[in-house]
Amino acid sequence: MTASQLAENIGASRLRANYIGFQTIVIKEVVRVLRIWIQTLVPPAISMTLYFIIFGGLIGRRVGEMGGYSYMAYIAPGLIMMSVINNSYVNVVSSFFGSKFGHYIEELQVSPLPNYLIILGYMMGGVVRGILVAVLITIIALFFTRLHLVHPLITVSVVILTAVLFSLGGLINAIYAKKFDDVTIIPTFILTPLTYLGGVFYSIHLLPVFWQNVSRLDPILYMVSAFRYGILGVSDIGIGTAYAIILLFILGLFCISLWLLNRGVGLRS
């Protein structure tokens, strides 16, 4: 065997080994989501059912139409998106921080698996939970309203990309977190307000011009609007702009995650 063939073989086996390592993290994360389904899948189902009953049903009747749809139909995409954002974020932040807290992140640190695959593995766990919750909430929504799915491809791609984005956000939060309080601060004080102000419950066109412009600084607005466009065909924002913003955030967050893991921030002393 020549030197170049040998190098090629080593490269190929490394590639295969990396794929197996990545697959192992994904399986481990998905099994975790399903094993603790009472913590991961049931709470969003209950809280979103309450949102549908209270906001969509009781209050929505008095609100009337929004964007040409009943209020229930208008908020359904927003509520699905809110669940995807929260669950993909919380999944990665709790799983990765748990592994740091219990020191079993060292199982990965001592392994030859490259950091970018560790990031992608945890991210996939968050994406799977985000998608599972999205499907669950969509089924619940169908009990309350009719969803048309005007642009299926946009709907599905926006859900996946949003789950990717917030999984990466959760990972960065977990990397920096030193105690359990640090895990809840971002979702409580940043994520939830941004979600509420991101057009889940209303069209930003209802706001004065100044607050419309302020709302445009909220990245969640672009995801909610793009998803609503996919389902209902109405949006506060241009779909191209929404995709560009989402992809830009994903790229930025992935680079930050990789830089943090390569430097060992929060992991290596």
Partner: protein, 304 residues
């Protein structure tokens, strides 16, 4: 070939603590080496750097000639680590923990399961494979970490105090297991507080203190450097007064126990002759501490 080659390794933590002051430490392939030192000496920092859990400040580390700065993934593939603290997910099953670890090293799932079965059986954990790991005893948890460290069949196994808090029966069975895998060709580096363990198992010893290797070499040769040994003599009858034992440093601990320091230049038979002259009968004799412990204390406390 050197399994581990460390040169000029230094580590200063962010808080200014200097953990390692440029150590040189080599371990040949197939060796069984003990890295000894008091708490805070730099043992765990050294292991942490080798296994990439700690960033080094300067120096080079090579594992089977793979430099951790340039070929970290290859170096990592050669190492199995059994850390000091329990570091597996205690809500997972032992079988899953070992299979997943194999996966992180790129071992296909089918083979990973076969290996997990092999090592869990060898470490008497097969019956516990489906239990929640949190419910395992302390000794079982340590053995589980050994099984996990071996599942990718490393060439170098590093154990950081693997028998801490483990009862003597399990400790001895772990010693037998480690001896067996070392004979099969795995290079082993062990840190321990049980110096009896190091003396029994390790052909080579390095002693680290205040971030510096103060001595390293073959265990037997280092023990020969011991200039004095302390023996404890148990007497048949109570002794009212200590007889004159010229040339020997003797302390009477109680009326039936003496402690005698015997230097290398002295003959222990001479001591017994003097005792016999005064009709003092010795019932039994033992080393006060094991010989490596004596060497360790003398070196670390600067008593030479």
């Amino acid at each position: 070939m050197q399994a581990l080659s460390i040169h000029g390794l230094a580590k200063t933590y962010k808080n200014g603590v200097v953990a390692l002051k440029g150590i040189d430490f080599d371990v040949a392939e197939g060796e069984f080496t003990a890295l000894l030192g008091p708490n805070g000496a730099g043992k765990t920092t050294t292991i942490g750097i080798v296994t990439s859990l700690v960033n080094k400040t300067s120096g080079t580390v090579k594992v089977f000639d793979y430099d951790i700065d340039t070929h970290m993934d290859r170096a990592k593939s050669c190492i199995g680590l059994v850390p000091q603290e329990i570091n597996f997910n205690q809500f997972e099953k032992p079988f899953d923990i070992v299979v997943n670890q194999a996966g992180f090293y790129g071992i296909p799932r089918k083979l990973a399961k076969q290996r997990a079965e092999k090592y869990l059986k060898q470490l008497s954990l097969w019956d516990k494979r489906d239990d929640i790991s949190r419910n395992l005893s302390g000794g079982m948890k340590r053995r589980l970490m050994i099984a996990r460290a071996l599942v990718h069949e490393p060439r170098l196994l590093i154990l950081d105090e693997p028998t801490a808090g483990v009862d003597i029966e399990i400790r001895r069975s772990m010693w037998d297991f480690l001896k067996k895998i070392n004979k099969e060709g795995i290079t082993i580096i062990l840190t321990t507080h049980y110096l009896e363990e190091a003396e029994n198992l390790c052909r080579r010893v390095a002693i680290i203190d205040h971030g510096e290797i103060i001595v390293q070499g073959r265990t037997r040769e280092l023990l020969e450097k011991l200039r004095t040994e302390t023996f404890v003599l148990n007497l048949r009858k109570p002794l009212a007064q200590l007889p004159p034992l010229d040339g020997y440093a003797v302390t009477q601990v109680d009326d039936t126990t003496l402690e005698v320091e015997v230097s290398k230049s002295q003959n222990i038979n001479g001591l017994f002759e003097l005792l016999s002259k005064d009709d003092v009968q010795v019932l039994s004799m033992r080393n006060k501490v094991n010989r490596l412990e004596e060497l360790f204390v003398r070196l670390v406390e600067g008593k030479g």
